[in-house]
Amino acid sequence: MGSGTAPGAAVSAELGARIGGDRLAAMIRAGVVKQAASAYTDVWTRYRGFSGLSLAAGPNLRLGLFEFGVLAGGALARYDLSYSYFAFPYIEPGASYRAARLDDRFSLGIGLSLPVYLRADALSLGFRAVVELRYESPHQERPSTPSAESAP
């Protein structure tokens, strides 16, 4: 089974923050992930399902309505129906598109990412369809020079 492949499905929910400039920023995300057991192979083996917590961070580039980023982090998970815990690093490049503006602060994004779970005894590759609800904090301009009104 170690060299075998099998399709599977997963779902996750995450909370993240984008901190930095308008164009280039840092993204940090934490969430929960649930990966179902894979399909059975011809020899009636499959990869076990698991659920866990994830935390990742990485650079994020915004170009117009598009965002591109790479997240790197780790996850702590437990195999379903057991008491076996395991940890693994992962990377997840991805891109998203601001599909709709809901109001001044909220917008809706959609995107795709390619999570790679670097597990000790199994390599999980996939693509993830992402739906984002984004909240933008109020713009805080930092005065760079004293205003004319306050000048002596």
């Binding site: 089974m1 170690g2 075998g4 599977g8 499905a9 779902v11 929910a13 995450e14 909370l15 993240g16 984008r18 901190i19 400039g21 308008d22 164009r23 179902a36 057991a37 399909a39 192979t41 011809d42 020899v43 009636w44 083996t45 499959r46 990869y47 076990r48 917590l53 702590l76 437990r78 195999y79 379903d80 129906l81 057991s82 008491y83 076996s84 815990y85 395991f86 940890a87 693994f88 601001r98 001044d104 602060r105 994004g109 990412s113 999570p115 597990r119 000790a120 005894d121 369809a129 992402v130 739906v131 984002e132 609800l133 984004r134 909240y135 933008e136 904090s137 713009h139 301009e141 930092r142």
Partner: protein, 331 residues
């Protein structure tokens, strides 16, 4: 995201908070609904109740029944079963469940490309060449006044593994209803929250909080996992395994999961029982029944103050990334 997004880049501190819900690989779950035809499945089933002919306190009562019932159940589920039992008053008959016979049976499967299930019910031992071991017939030998242990006739965890490897068998499910059998279970790249000795006066399940497992889980990260060997043990490496009623407690639940309660054991409802589901069913059964015997039977509590109280115990499962389907539910 605000309309001010394009202004003042580099001079503004801003944070965009988002909640993301993601799904992966639409259609993949549909693939999971299609179950391939059953592969070749062979089961080697051993039960040793008679170690010393003519009667001895070291003999067991139900392990022969365990093996026969497991053999019959597996056969009904489509496995090609070889059942060997030591419960006779004739030594040459009992030798069919000896170490040599077990080794020969495994070796005879060389070249087999399906799933091999190895089941054993009998005595187990600890610290045999530094490992847990099973005690086939011939490993406990009568003397004039009693018996002694022939350690060389026992099979340790690594020796059993080596037998399968020597035969080139890479898809192996091992089920052991014996004391100290947890020593056969490799955690692989995981950390097992169930201690080697669990219950009453021993340790409890570790990690009250999920994140409490983080340190041990990181430490367990390794590429030395054994993907093809899945072991279900009745007990931890420091525990006894018990028998009562008609069968070993652990085996009783294996049989239930292969019989009347197979649908209840099929936790994901896909119609097939996996090694993990079987383990879970046995674990919950032992925890709910055996491990609560003192809670539910107050008149037995005096035994807790005696040296021979019935220990709590819990099954263990390999920490492999993969699992096997064993049989279809309801066949």
């Amino acid at each position: 995201m605000s309309r001010r997004l394009g202004r003042g880049a580099g001079h503004a501190l801003r944070a965009a908070f988002g909640a993301a819900a993601a799904t992966l690989a639409a259609g993949a779950s549909l693939l999971a609904c299609s179950m391939p035809e059953p592969p070749n499945r062979v089961a080697l089933v051993y039960g040793v109740s008679t170690y010393i002919e003519g009667g001895s306190s070291v003999n067991l009562s139900l392990t022969d029944d365990d093996a026969r019932a497991m053999g019959a159940m597996l056969s009904a589920k489509g496995w090609s079963v070889t059942t060997r039992v030591a419960d006779s008053s004739v030594a040459t008959t009992n030798e069919q469940a000896s170490r040599d016979r077990i080794e020969a049976d495994i070796a005879a499967l060389a070249g087999f490309d399906g799933i091999v299930l190895f089941y054993y019910s009998g005595h187990g031992a600890y610290d045999v060449r530094g490992e847990s071991a099973i005690c086939p017939y011939g490993s406990i030998v009568a003397t004039g006044e009693g018996y002694f242990f022939d350690l060389g006739a026992m099979i340790t965890a690594s020796e059993l593994r080596a037998m399968f490897e020597a035969a080139g068998l890479g898809r192996v499910v091992i089920m052991l209803d014996s004391c100290n059998s947890g020593g056969f279970v490799a955690a692989g790249a995981t950390t097992d929250a169930i201690p080697d000795s669990y219950g009453v006066y021993d340790d409890d399940i570790a990690y009250t909080w999920f994140v409490g497992a983080f340190g041990d889980a990181v430490a367990a990260f390794s590429y030395d996992a054994e993907p093809g060997y899945v072991v279900l043990s009745a007990a931890g490496s420091d525990e006894f395994s018990w028998e009562s009623g008609d069968h070993g407690i652990f085996t009783r639940y294996l049989l239930e999961a292969g019989g009347a309660n197979s649908k209840a054991a099929d936790r994901d409802g896909d119609g097939y029982l996996s090694t993990t589901e079987l383990y879970r069913y046995a674990l919950l059964g032992i925890e709910a029944k055996w491990n609560r015997i003192y809670d539910e039977t107050p008149t037995l509590r005096w035994q807790l103050y005696a040296a021979d109280y019935w220990d709590d115990y819990l099954p263990h499962l390999s920490g492999t990334a993969s699992e096997y389907a064993l049989w279809a539910v309801g066949d």
